[in-house]
């Protein structure tokens, strides 16, 4: 019972946040001096070195950079999937480090959606069941969950594939299901990690078009880690990383010198 109340509250809070934050125009995601270091037995890797980062509500941000630059780590740390060693991350004004693992889980269930390169659909569930799962977690009734799952699948153009298992779908179709799943609870923020990495150019373009449309229509915030300049070009802003630091956060009017990174201020930074 307690869980349900929290979940409902969180779901509402998500909706309020979206609307409220749009009006207030303060950052929905804010990271200050974030440090993340991976240690194996012999190697120490500084994945994030005092990173500061902000995303405004309804913004679509692309995080780009070479392999090993810390893009995925940034996404994991911002979204609460991974812990940070120092610094602060807050989402909608709430400090992640003050939240328990359970509260973070609830928060992810109600206010965040994830799309990954490998789709990561649960292989034993059908497309519709995959989309229903976050709805169930948020405490939505079965009937409503079914209806909304079908609705989301129709939104991504898979209304006729609801009963298919992931293995019976193509890569592009699987990624659409993953997107439908990420959007199921109408989250405030959708995180995408190389979400077109496994797709051909046609499928990539379709997926990105879908995302930009959703971003415009539903005012959801998108943070997308990508290698692809084409994908980056569709974002409101491109943040460039190299060696664990943000070398260009792509803000208009920002006086940050672009000279540090080899990427510099390249095309696509403008919307």
């Amino acid at each position: 019972m307690r869980l349900k109340v929290v979940a409902l509250f969180a779901a509402r809070a998500g909706a309020w946040l979206r609307k409220g934050l749009c009006m207030d125009a303060g950052p929905i995601i804010s990271a200050t001096a974030v440090v993340k270091t991976y240690r194996t037995r012999e190697v120490v890797v500084d994945a994030l070195k005092h990173v500061d980062f902000e995303v405004m509500p309804g913004e679509m941000v692309a995080v780009m950079g070479p392999s090993g630059s810390g893009k995925t780590t940034l996404l994991n740390c911002m979204s609460g999937l991974d812990s940070i060693d120092s610094g602060d991350v807050s989402i909608a004004g709430q400090l992640l480090r003050t939240m328990s693992d359970d509260a973070l889980s609830d928060y992810r269930a109600t206010s965040m959606g994830f799309v990954f390169q490998a789709y990561n659909l649960l292989p034993v569930l059908s497309a519709q069941e995959n989309v229903e799962l976050p709805l169930m977690l948020a405490g939505t009734s079965s009937k409503e969950a079914q209806a909304r799952a079908v609705e989301k699948l129709e939104l991504v153009g898979l209304g006729d594939r609801t009963d298919h298992l992931p293995a019976e779908l193509s890569g592009g179709q699987q990624q659409r299901v993953a997107i439908a799943r990420a959007l199921a609870n109408d989250p405030a923020i959708v995180w995408g990690d190389e979400l077109t990495g496994n797709l051909d150019s046609t499928n990539s373009a379709e997926i990105m078009e879908l995302l930009t449309r959703l971003n415009k229509e539903q005012h959801q915030t998108f943070v997308i880690v990508t290698h692809s300049e084409e994908v980056g070009a569709l974002a409101d802003r491109i943040v460039r990383m190299n060696d664990g630091v943000i070398v260009d956060d792509g803000s208009r009017g920002d006086d940050y010198s672009a000279s540090a990174g080899s990427y510099g201020t390249t095309a696509g930074a403008e919307d």
Partner: protein, 1174 residues
């Protein structure tokens, strides 16, 4: 043990070792030929240590169970062996008078002893001949007032002790028997403890002529000469002259012991040869000649052969029978030594006498004299016989444990299979890539076999060690059953052969299962494997008939090609190479035969799989299994196993044909499968679940052994799992309805069901394993509960008597009331409401008017009127002409000396499995069936003294008008007891036969313990041994309980396998599903929700498995119960809920505990890490 399943242990051990070495050599040979595969296969073992350990644990359990079963059999055999050796000591052969004391004088004179001495003089195999007297007499210690009534008192000539003098005293020194003086006595430790006598104390011996006192010269171990008798371990030894005087038997002996050289060492062959030589020396040749001439008439030989055909030659170590040898020897011209030896067997002779009587009564009469004169001295190779019995019981135990253990072994093998299927699943991608770069399917099989063999060796070794450990524990439990029993104690013992057999058999079946699993997992589709898709994408393509035929042909001619190659090599002069090739050729013959058989099966498989051919094959098999009376085919095997397997094949055939039909009609595959598999499962359940005799009208009476228990258990569990797994969605639907109200649980439940249902094969296998384990435990729990009827109704067993006593026949009682009256007030006649007396008389008897002509062993319980009229034993069958209640029948027997009642195990059981060995060497009453209690028509029987016991020509007829309940007199009855009026004693015996069994009913039953003790004291002059019936029941019940615990403990090993299987499945699931768990966590699943999901997955299997096991177990137990009830009155069916709850709780809780660790691991998976390597 020396034999297992009728095969010599040595042979078994050697052939298994040979087989194992051969298999290992073949594998090594193949591995060395293609080292890269070997390297690839073996690299996983050291690299993943935790996994290696887990696999070895999973693989070792079958070996553990085999080892335990063998060790328990060994222990039982060695315990009995020790007991036998302790009891007989240095005496290998015992010679006694052929006449039983009841029928005449059984004492031997000095002359006979001299004849025996002369016979073995100069025989190096014999190192001692000891004539002695052995009688059971009361011995008491006046100082402590303690008595042992039936002490075995032995008198030995002090100058003839060569070969028998190894007795040790308390200090471990050799006791000085030769130095025993007149008036001195040696007592054994058992007697010393019981009467609390020490060295130098005076003890009193009560003989027929009065009491005499002796000084205890030394206390010796309770072994050999002073090893005691069957019932009492206490013994005392005196100089022969003293005992002869006490008994009034100057110059006489009643036993001659012969010791075979080698002390306690057993030389079976020498012992047997000397026994035969002695027996031949003491056979009346004239009588043998007469009998040989009479027996060899063609009519008689034909009749005897017919008897043999009817199974009269059968016998175990308890009733050996030499009819077959006798008939064989009759075909020779003269009476051979073999004929004479065969004719000395009393059971054989009784059968022959019965047959002759049927053919020619006058001839039979005339032969009774030579028959009774044939044996001049009875020669008993007692040490050999005792060891044979030890061997028999030991093998029997192993057999029983193997049969019940086979369930657990099957579950263990399924676990091995499961482990390998999962191992393969984890390596699917890797295997796909290996295949993609060009390795063949058989290379994959080889790789798995190499790896599997290494695991198997480790598992067999570890399993053997653990099995030894488990057996130590189980033997300890068994030992508690015999704590009270002074004549038998359990001591742990295991033979080297058993260890070798367990190791090799374990290794062998593990390796075989590994090979089968490897074959299965090698059937992968490369693309599907590399992409990590599900098994449902693997289409099992069937090669065309032509292609299959070609494969068979290739395997048929393969060895020929090889042989040709070898021959060419030889011609080319490659001597050594040829030998090596031939060596491997020999090794490969068996695998070749197996592979060829497999290929031939594969050739037919597509047709068999289509279902319809199974119908005619099954029909032929089922009809072959019918009884001769119902014969349809030209042959009839009357086998329950063949019949049931045949019918099962028909059911499967129909089910598969149904699927084909639905396929043709265009139904969805899922629907086809569900309908056909549900049909197969349901029909199999219905068929196997039928009461055992339900189809007897169709099949006739079929024979079936313990294999039926295994077959029915495995079939029912498989059928039930089949039905459940093909209707799992119904279950899922029910669960989702049930959990709809618990909103937060929904996603957890959804996942907890989705995963097991997606891996149906794995889930089905685990479910089957778990069900099978619970199923067997359940049957045991229920069947153990059945015996409790004895505790509930002790009168059934005791007949309403509080105390049961037996006295020494040499010290008879004239009137027990007089003895009590003269007891100085210790006891008074008014303490008793009833005192009854019975005599025992060994006889031979035959049922009149049946095919079985032979006289068989029986025992008369001649009972006085008080016993007959007042006992409360229940009758199950009665002749309505004489009465319709137990009381009426007993009253008629009391009044009419021509009537009799027989005990419950003398009638036909009419049960499942038939009555193959009905009666055996003891009398059985045909035409009266235990499962049909109530009225029957009285049966006439003829009774006569045993052949050779005097009383030639005497015989009496009796009409059996009642049958006792099975439980009646349970702790006192022999295998064929006939209760009747004491008038019979005078009719059959030359000598007066004394009453020896006295039973008492007390005025105040609460004084039972006190009066039991007092009776022994008051009747000491008669050597009375008294036992309270309630105590006896409790002791026996305790022994039963301990055995049941032993069995449950053993079956519990199976539970270990079931629990381990769930652990393995969970552990693998966590490894396999890391990414999914990461994604679930990203979606918002909390750590404990993930944990709960994993626990639920195991829980679902454990609970469902338990439910199936309980249901099916109760079902089969109910059928078994009905079978028992039809034979035994008063058995009640009750499910021991407490016991069942404990079993299920243990199973479920341990499964969950076993899952807890992997579940915890899963809950701690960090989403960011799990998702990193997409």
């Amino acid at each position: 043990m020396e034999k297992l399943f009728g095969i010599e242990m040595n042979t078994l051990a050697i052939s298994l070792t040979g087989g194992t070495v051969a298999v290992l050599l073949i594998v090594l040979f193949l591995g060395l030929r293609n080292r890269i595969l070997l390297k690839l296969a073996l690299r996983n073992i050291p690299r993943r240590r935790a996994q290696t350990v887990l696999i070895i644990v999973g693989l070792m359990l079958s070996t553990t169970i085999i080892m335990s079963a063998l060790a328990i059999g060994d222990t039982v055999a060695s315990s009995i062996r020790t007991t036998v050796l302790d009891a007989v000591g240095e005496s290998d052969i015992r010679l006694t008078s052929p006449v039983l004391a009841r029928f005449g004088d059984d004492y031997l004179d000095e002359e006979t002893v001299e004849l025996v001495r002369a016979e073995v003089r100069g025989d190096s195999r014999v190192d001692g001949v000891l004539p002695l007297i052995r009688e059971n007499l009361p011995v008491f210690n006046a100082a402590t007032d303690k008595t042992v009534a039936g002490t075995s008192v032995i008198g030995v000539p002090l100058d003839s002790l060569d070969g028998f003098d190894s007795l040790k005293n308390a200090d471990g020194d050799q006791a000085d028997i030769r130095g025993l003086l007149e008036g001195e006595i040696l007592i054994n430790r058992s007697l010393a403890e019981k009467i609390e006598a020490g060295i130098g104390d005076q003890v009193t011996l009560v003989g027929p002529s009065g009491r005499s006192e002796y000084r205890v010269a030394d206390i010796v171990e309770s072994k050999g000469l002073v090893g005691g008798n069957e019932g009492v371990r206490s013994a005392a030894l005196l100089p022969i002259s003293t005992l002869q005087r006490v008994l009034g038997r100057e110059g006489q002996y009643n036993v001659i012991e012969v010791s075979i050289a080698g002390g306690l060492r057993v030389d079976v062959q020498d012992s047997e040869d000397v026994a035969d030589d002695l027996q031949l020396a003491f056979i009346n040749d004239e009588a043998a000649e007469t009998l040989f001439k009479a027996f060899r008439s063609p009519v008689l030989v034909t009749a005897l052969e017919a008897e043999l055909e009817a199974g009269a030659g059968a016998g175990g170590p308890f009733s050996s029978n030499s009819l077959a040898e006798l008939v064989e020897e009759l075909k020779k011209g003269d009476p051979t030594d073999e004929f004479k030896i065969a004719a000395t067997n009393t059971i054989t002779l009784a059968i022959v006498a019965g047959v002759i009587e049927e053919i020619d009564v006058r001839l039979a009469q005339s032969l009774l004299v030579p028959m009774s004169q044939l044996v001049e001295l009875q020669v008993d190779p007692r040490k050999n016989r005792g060891l044979e019995i030890a061997e028999f019981i030991g093998s029997f135990f192993t057999l029983i444990f193997s049969i019940f253990g086979s369930f657990s072994i099957i579950v263990g093998l399924l676990l091995i299979f499961l482990v390998f299927v999962m191992l393969a699943a984890a390596r699917t991608t890797e295997m796909g890539i290996i295949r993609a770069v060009g390795t063949k399917r058989r290379h994959l099989v080889q790789m798995f076999v190499y790896e599997g063999i290494v695991y198997s060796i480790g598992a067999a070794a570890l399993g053997t060690i653990l099995g030894l450990g488990a057996s130590v524990l189980l033997v300890y439990i068994m030992g508690t059953a015999f704590q009270q029993d002074e004549t038998f104690s359990i001591s742990y013992g295991v033979t080297f052969q058993s260890i070798i057999i367990a190791f090799c058999a374990g290794l062998f079946i593990t390796a075989l299962t590994v090979a089968v699993s490897a074959y299965r997992v090698s059937k992968l589709n490369i693309v599907v494997a590399i992409r990590g898709l599900g098994q449902e994408f693997v289409s099992d393509e069937t090669p065309s008939a032509g292609k299959r035929a070609k494969t068979v042909l290739r395997w048929v001619v393969g060895p020929l090609t090889w042989a040709y190659g070898t021959w060419r090599m030889k011609r080319a002069g490659h001597g050594i190479a040829t030998r090596v090739v031939i060596f491997f050729l020999l090794l490969l013959v068996i695998p070749w035969i197996v592979t060829l058989a497999w290929k031939v099966f594969r050739f037919f498989q597509p047709w068999l799989a289509s279902g319809w051919p199974l119908i005619p094959i099954g029909l032929v098999m089922a009809l072959s299994g019918l009884h001769e009376d119902k014969q349809v085919l030209p042959w009839a095997l009357a086998s329950a196993a063949i019949w049931t397997v045949g019918v099962t094949q028909v059911i499967i055939g129909v089910g598969l044909s149904l699927r084909r039909f639905l396929d043709r009609r265009g139904y969805r595959e899922e629907f086809q499968k569900r309908v056909s598999m549900t049909f197969i499962g349901g029909a199999m359940l219905a068929f196997w679940g039928l009461p055992f005799d339900a189809l007897e009208g169709i099949t006739g009476e079929l024979s079936g052994g313990p294999e039926m228990f295994l077959l029915s258990g495995v079939s029912m569990v498989a059928a039930a799992v089949w039905v459940v797994m093909h209707n799992a969605d119904v279950l899922v639907w029910l669960v989702s309805i049930a959990t709809r109200r618990f909103g937060n649980l929904r996603p957890v439940v959804k996942m907890a069901i989705a995963y097991p249902m997606a891996a149906r094969f794995r889930t089905g296998l685990t479910l089957a394993m778990f069900s099978l384990v619970i199923f067997t435990l359940m049957i045991f729990a229920i069947l153990n509960n059945l015996g409790n009827v004895i505790e509930e109704e002790p009168d059934l067993v005791s007949g309403g008597f509080d105390i049961r006593t037996v006295i020494e026949p040499e010290l008879p009682i004239d009137d027990p009331a007089d003895v009590i009256a003269a007891s100085d007030g210790q006891l008074s006649v008014s303490d008793f409401t009833l005192i009854t007396a019975q005599a025992r008389l060994r006889v031979e008897a035959r049922q009149d008017g049946v095919d079985d002509l032979g006289f068989k062993r029986a025992r008369i319980r001649a009972s006085d009127e008080a016993w007959l009229k007042n006992n409360r034993f229940e009758l199950t069958h009665y002749d309505p002409e004489y009465g319709s209640t137990s009381e009426e029948i007993w009253a008629r027997v009391a009044a009419n000396p021509t009537l009799a009642v027989v005990n419950g195990n003398m009638i036909e059981t009419g049960g499942f499995g038939g009555d193959d060995d009905f009666g055996g060497s003891s009398l059985g009453i045909k035409g009266v069936v235990a499962s049909e209690p109530g009225e029957f028509e009285g049966v006439d029987i003829t009774i006569r003294p045993p052949i050779g016991q005097g009383g030639v020509g005497r015989s009496v007829s009796r009409k059996v008008i009642g049958v006792l309940d099975q439980f009646a007199d349970l702790y006192d009855f022999g295998s064929a007891d006939i209760y009747m009026n004491p008038a019979v004693l005078e009719e059959l015996s030359d000598k007066p036969v004394p009453f020896v069994d006295y039973k008492f009913r007390l005025a105040d039953p609460s004084r039972t313990a006190e009066i039991t003790r007092l009776l022994e004291t008051v009747f000491i002059e008669h050597g009375m041994l008294a036992k309270a019936t309630v105590e006896e029941i409790a002791e026996n019940q305790a022994q039963n309980d301990a055995f049941n615990q032993l069995f449950q403990g053993f079956m519990g090993l199976g539970l270990l396998v079931g629990v381990a299987s769930l652990g393995v499945v969970s552990y693998r699931a966590v490894v396999e599903r890391r990414q999914s768990v990461g994604m679930m966590r990203a979606l918002g699943f909390k750590g404990r929700m993930v944990e709960l999901q994993f626990l639920m997955e195991s829980g679902v299997v454990a609970v469902l498995g338990s439910a199936l096991g309980i249901g099916l177990g109760t079902w089969i137990a109910w059928n078994i119960f009905n079978e028992i009830r039809s034979e035994t009155e008063g058995v009640t069916f009750a499910i021991p809920w407490l016991n069942v709850t404990i079993i299920v709780l243990v199973a479920v809780v341990f499964s969950l505990l076993n899952t807890l660790i992997p579940a915890r691991q899963a809950s701690r998976i960090k989403p960011s890490e799990a998702l990193r390597y997409g």
